[in-house]
């Protein structure tokens, strides 16, 4: 049985889709069987970031409505053969996303794949709650600024109340992925500090992705940043985050902080 991860944030534009693609590709490059699922019905983007926009025939809604088989809708990545995409529908209404349909699709995917990564739409409406509903693990994507942090806090509240795990009285495993972290702005005090974000959200940190032109460049060529330039700083940070998702203890480094203070960095733990 595979693990179902929801990549969520509440706020839009913080990097959910980028992170879904990057983490998916990072996991798949280790040989894991991965499917990335776009839940943003009507505003799909994951196909673009994955570079598969011209190969979409059937989508999630077709599968939910029984118009296509799951195997027909899944798109295999051209670069990694264990990486698949289940695209969202661009033309249908998101009301077609039914709780029963989502449950069926997720449980089918869980049987076939090691990792099912659900790219949640922004907001707290049905699309977002359905994307998180069957997750085992949540990756909460947050930018180091107040509105993003507060929205993430709201989402964490929903993860603890509106998911199947929460309703069964279990605890949802939640990880914080801090994206668009700009060391220069952090230096100037224009951004929330890592420790402040951790103190407010009080969930464990899984990675800090530096703000970088490499991310934009990668989406423009239609590749997850971890495949476009595996040696770039954001790609490295995503690879580390993926290893931590697998349970490997990888120390977290704050971009811009000097590596010589190893003790300080190794000692950094989420509140």
């Amino acid at each position: 049985m595979g693990k179902v991860i929801v990549v969520t944030s509440g706020k839009g534009g913080v990097g959910k889709t980028t992170s879904t693609a990057a983490l998916g590709a990072a996991l798949a490059s280790k040989g894991e069987r991965v499917v990335v699922v776009d839940f943003d019905v009507g505003l799909r983007n994951l196909d673009l970031v994955m570079g598969a926009e011209r190969r979409v025939v059937y989508d999630l809604i077709n599968v939910i409505q029984g118009e296509a088989k799951l195997s027909q809708a899944l798109i295999r990545d051209k670069r990694l053969e264990t990486l698949f995409l289940l695209p969202a529908s661009q033309t249908r209404d998101k009301d077609n996303l039914t709780p029963e349909g989502v449950e069926r699709v997720i449980s089918e995917l869980r049987r076939v794949f090691d990792w099912v990564i659900c790219d949640s739409p922004a907001g707290i409406e049905s699309g977002a709650t359905l994307a998180m509903r069957h997750a085992d693990v949540a990756v909460v994507v947050t930018n180091p600024e107040v509105s993003s942090v507060r929205d993430s806090d709201r989402i964490i509240g929903l993860l603890d109340s509106k998911t199947v795990k929460a309703e069964n009285g279990e605890r949802m495993e939640k990880h914080l992925l801090l994206t668009r972290y700009d060391p220069n702005r952090a230096e100037r005090g224009d951004m929330l500090k890592v420790d402040d974000v951790l103190e407010i959200l009080s969930i464990p940190l899984i990675g800090i992705i530096p703000e970088s032109m490499d991310v934009l460049r990668a989406s423009n060529i239609g590749a997850p940043v971890t495949l476009a330039d595996a040696s770039s700083a954001p790609a490295q940070a995503y690879f580390d985050a993926a290893r931590r998702l697998c349970g490997e203890p990888v120390p977290i480094t704050v971009p811009g902080e000097k590596r010589s203070f190893l003790g300080k960095i190794f000692g950094r733990k989420a509140a």
Binding site: G157, L158, S202
Partner: protein
């Protein structure tokens, strides 16, 4: 160090519930009014000084008829304080406001007179039983209160072992204790308790209230921000001091 937060006298906003008499007329209205007059003639002054709510949920009525009905109530000295169950289109300026969220009250809690039952029998008078003394309760929450969450516990104290996020609120009938940072709202003594207090380990609150006296973040002394603080009420003013 004890501080009065501002000199200006604050405004009290309180929640309070009243027992209202609900009248649910039925058609035809003339018949119903005749029965009302009958009741009124037998227990004079029944509606005098009483809050009366008009329930039109099951009543097929147009705006003109409703106006006439309201006029009929005025004639009979029945003051209608609100209308329940009316479509917005029914109501207009000069009419009592729409009410919703009313709860039915069990028989013994209501007054002795018959309320809506209009029969020929005089109602039996029952002395109201004294309410059993309530045991003070407390609610302990071991997790942070997230933005958008709201903890409402009118029965007693609320203790949070964790922070209260910006956009979250804790409302307690008793005192509020936050073992973490208070970034959201805290309201103590929500149903009237001047002795309720608010305690928090780190004060970053958006809004505080004790027994209906409110205080916004910007009215608070800057010296309290980020400190361990307790707040209480003295002569309708919220007082605060740092702890430790």
């Amino acid at each position: 160090m004890t501080k009065v937060l501002t000199d200006a006298r604050s405004i009290r906003i309180k929640g309070r519930s009243f027992l209202a008499v609900v009248l649910s007329p039925d058609l035809p209205l003339d018949d119903w009014l005749a029965r009302l007059d009958d009741l009124a003639s037998r227990s004079a002054g029944f509606f005098l000084g009483r809050p009366v709510v008009l329930d039109v949920t099951d009543l097929e009525i147009c705006k003109t008829d409703l106006k006439e009905l309201l006029a009929a109530f005025v004639e009979r000295n029945v003051a209608i304080m609100g209308i329940e169950g009316a479509r917005p289109s029914l109501l207009g300026p000069g009419m009592p406001p729409a009410l919703k969220g009313g709860k039915p009250v069990s028989g013994d809690a209501v007054a002795k007179e018959p309320i809506i039952e209009i029969r020929n029998m005089p109602a039996e008078t029952q002395p109201a039983e004294p309410e059993p003394r309530q045991v003070l309760q407390s609610l302990v929450i071991r997790e942070p209160i997230r933005s958008g969450q709201s903890v409402i516990f009118p029965e007693g104290d609320v203790t949070v072992i964790g922070s209260v996020a910006s956009g979250a609120e804790v409302i307690a009938g008793g005192s509020v204790h936050i073992y973490g940072t208070l970034r959201g709202r805290a309201m103590a003594g929500s149903i009237g308790n001047i002795n309720a207090r608010i305690f928090c380990r780190k004060m970053e609150a958006e809004l505080l209230a004790i027994d209906g006296v409110y205080k916004m973040a910007e009215d608070m002394a800057p010296g309290l921000r980020g400190k361990s603080v307790q707040l209480w009420l003295e002569n309708d003013t919220i007082m605060a001091e740092t702890l430790i």
